[in-house]
C-alpha cells in the first residue's frame, strides 16, 4: 500500500471526526444540560432517543439517515431544491459520525453537569447572573472535565464509525475513512494495506480513549 493512501485516509478520518465533534458539541451540551437539570414532558422519550444509536445496529442508523436524507426522503428532497447534496459526500461522513458519537458525548457531559452542586448555580443567580451567565461561568466550567471526556469519547467513536458511514456515504474515494478503507482493502485481499491502516486506527483510538478515561476518572 502506498504511503500516500495511509496519510490521506488518516488525515481525512481525523478531519471528519474533528468536524463531526464540532457539529455534535452544541446539541450534545444542550441535551446533556437539559437531561441533567430540567424535568419536562417527554424527557424519558428524549433520553431514549439520544441513546438509541448506541443500541441499534449502526447500519440501521445509517439506513434511517439514508431514508431521511436521500433524494426521495423528506429532508433530502428539501435539500435538493436548495442545491445541497449530502448523501455519498464528505458531509454524509460527518453526519454519520456525529449521530453515532452524540450519545457518548451526551452521557459523559450529562454526568459532568449532574456532579455540579445546584447550589453554586442558585447562588450565582442571587448575585445577579442571568441563566446564560450562570451556565457559561458556573455550570460549564464546573462540568468541564466531564464535558471534555465526552468530547474525546464522541471523537473516538466518530473515528471508528463504519456501519452508518458505509450506508450513507459509501466507500467512494472521497468518503473513505480508516474503517471503510480497512474493510475495502481486506475485501479485495490487500491484507498488508489493511493491516497498516489498522495500526493507524488502533494508535489514534488508543490515545483518544486513554485520555478520555484519565479525564473521566479525575472528574
Amino acid at each position: 500500500m502506498m504511503e500516500s493512501e495511509l496519510v490521506r485516509v488518516t488525515a481525512f478520518t481525523l478531519m471528519m471526526a474533528a468536524i463531526a465533534t464540532l457539529v455534535m458539541l452544541p446539541p450534545g451540551v444542550a441535551l446533556a444540560w437539559l437531561l441533567a437539570r430540567r424535568r419536562f414532558l417527554g424527557r424519558d422519550i428524549l433520553e431514549t432517543l439520544v441513546s438509541l444509536p448506541l443500541v441499534i445496529p449502526p447500519v440501521a442508523t445509517g439506513l434511517i439517515l439514508l431514508k431521511v436524507l436521500g433524494r426521495r426522503g423528506p429532508l433530502g428532497s428539501l435539500l435538493e431544491h436548495t442545491g445541497v447534496d449530502i448523501v455519498f459526500t464528505w458531509k454524509a461522513v460527518v453526519l454519520a459520525m456525529a449521530v453515532m458519537g452524540l450519545p457518548l458525548l451526551v452521557r459523559s457531559a450529562r454526568a459532568g453537569f449532574e456532579r455540579v452542586d445546584p447550589r453554586y448555580e442558585q447562588i450565582a443567580a442571587t448575585l445577579g447572573a442571568g441563566p446564560w451567565r450562570v451556565f457559561l461561568t458556573i455550570s460549564l466550567p464546573l462540568a468541564g472535565r466531564g464535558l471534555l471526556a465526552g468530547v474525546l469519547l464522541g471523537f473516538s467513536r466518530a473515528l471508528g464509525e463504519f456501519g452508518a458511514t458505509i450506508m450513507i456515504a459509501g466507500a467512494l474515494p472521497g468518503t473513505r475513512t480508516l474503517s471503510v478503507a480497512i474493510y475495502r482493502n481486506a475485501e479485495i485481499g490487500q491484507d498488508a494495506a489493511a493491516m497498516t491502516l489498522l495500526a493507524a486506527a488502533v494508535t489514534i483510538g488508543f490515545a483518544a480513549v486513554s485520555l478520555s478515561n484519565r479525564l473521566g476518572a479525575s472528574t
Partner: protein, 205 residues
C-alpha cells in the same frame, strides 16, 4: 409552612429549631423555592405575589444570600468570587467592603486554601458587593467553632452598622440573635410562634 409577617426592622433574626422552616423562608425570599401562594415584598419592591402572577426571577430580585455552606465557587479565586456580582457596585464601595471585612490580602488566594472564618468573610463580601436590597444569612456561623464565631460576629455587626444593609439572619443560637438582630421571629413547625424585639421574645440568658 405558613408565614405572615410585616417587619419594619433593619436586622431580623429567624430563630428556631432545625426543621422550623427557617431556610425554606430564605429560599422563598431569594426565589429559589416557589411558595404555593402569598406575597413577598421588600419595601415597595414586590418579589412574589401569587394573586397578580408576579414571580421575579432570582437574578432580578437583588437579594444577597449567604447559605450555610457558603457555596464559594471552587473554580474561581477569592477575587473572582467576590467580584462575581459587582456589576451593580462602584469601586469605592468595593474597597470599603474589603476593608471592613479585612479580606484585601486574600484576593489572589484559591478557595480551597481558605480557613472557615475566611470563607465566611469572603462569602459575605461577595453577597454585599452585589448591592443587595436585602441580605439573607443562613446560620452563617454554624460551621465555625466557638472561638471563631466570636471573631466573625463583630464583622457582621460592622456590616449592619456601617453599610446598613437590611438583613435576615437565621440562627438557633440565642446569644448571636441578641447581638445581631433588632427584631426576632421565632419559628417552629413551619409557623410563627412569637415575634418582636429580642428582649421580649427571647427572655432569659
Amino acid at each position: 409552612m405558613e408565614l405572615h409577617q410585616r417587619i419594619e426592622a433593619r436586622t431580623v433574626a429567624l430563630y428556631g429549631p432545625s426543621g422550623a422552616g427557617k431556610t425554606t423562608t430564605l429560599d422563598a425570599i431569594a426565589g429559589l423555592r416557589r411558595p404555593a401562594s402569598g406575597e413577598i415584598r421588600i419595601g415597595t419592591h414586590v418579589l412574589f405575589a401569587s394573586d397578580v402572577g408576579v414571580d421575579l426571577p432570582v437574578h432580578t430580585r437583588r437579594v444577597g444570600y449567604v447559605p450555610q455552606d457558603v457555596a464559594l465557587f471552587p473554580h474561581l479565586n477569592v477575587r473572582r468570587n467576590i467580584m462575581y456580582g459587582t456589576g451593580r457596585r462602584d469601586e469605592t464601595s468595593s474597597t470599603t467592603v474589603l476593608e471592613l471585612l479585612e479580606i484585601g490580602g486574600l484576593l489572589s488566594r484559591r478557595i480551597n486554601g481558605l480557613s472557615g472564618g475566611e470563607r465566611q468573610r469572603v462569602a459575605l463580601a461577595r453577597a454585599l458587593l452585589s448591592d443587595p436590597e436585602l441580605l439573607l444569612l443562613d446560620e452563617p456561623m454554624a460551621a465555625l467553632d466557638l472561638g471563631l464565631r466570636d471573631r466573625i460576629l463583630p464583622y457582621l455587626e460592622r456590616v449592619r452598622d456601617e453599610i446598613g444593609t437590611r438583613m435576615i439572619y437565621v440562627s438557633h443560637i440565642k446569644g448571636e440573635v441578641r447581638r445581631i438582630a433588632d427584631w426576632v421571629v421565632v419559628l417552629d413547625g413551619g409557623r410563627v410562634v412569637r415575634s418582636g424585639p429580642p428582649n421580649n421574645v427571647l427572655p432569659g440568658t
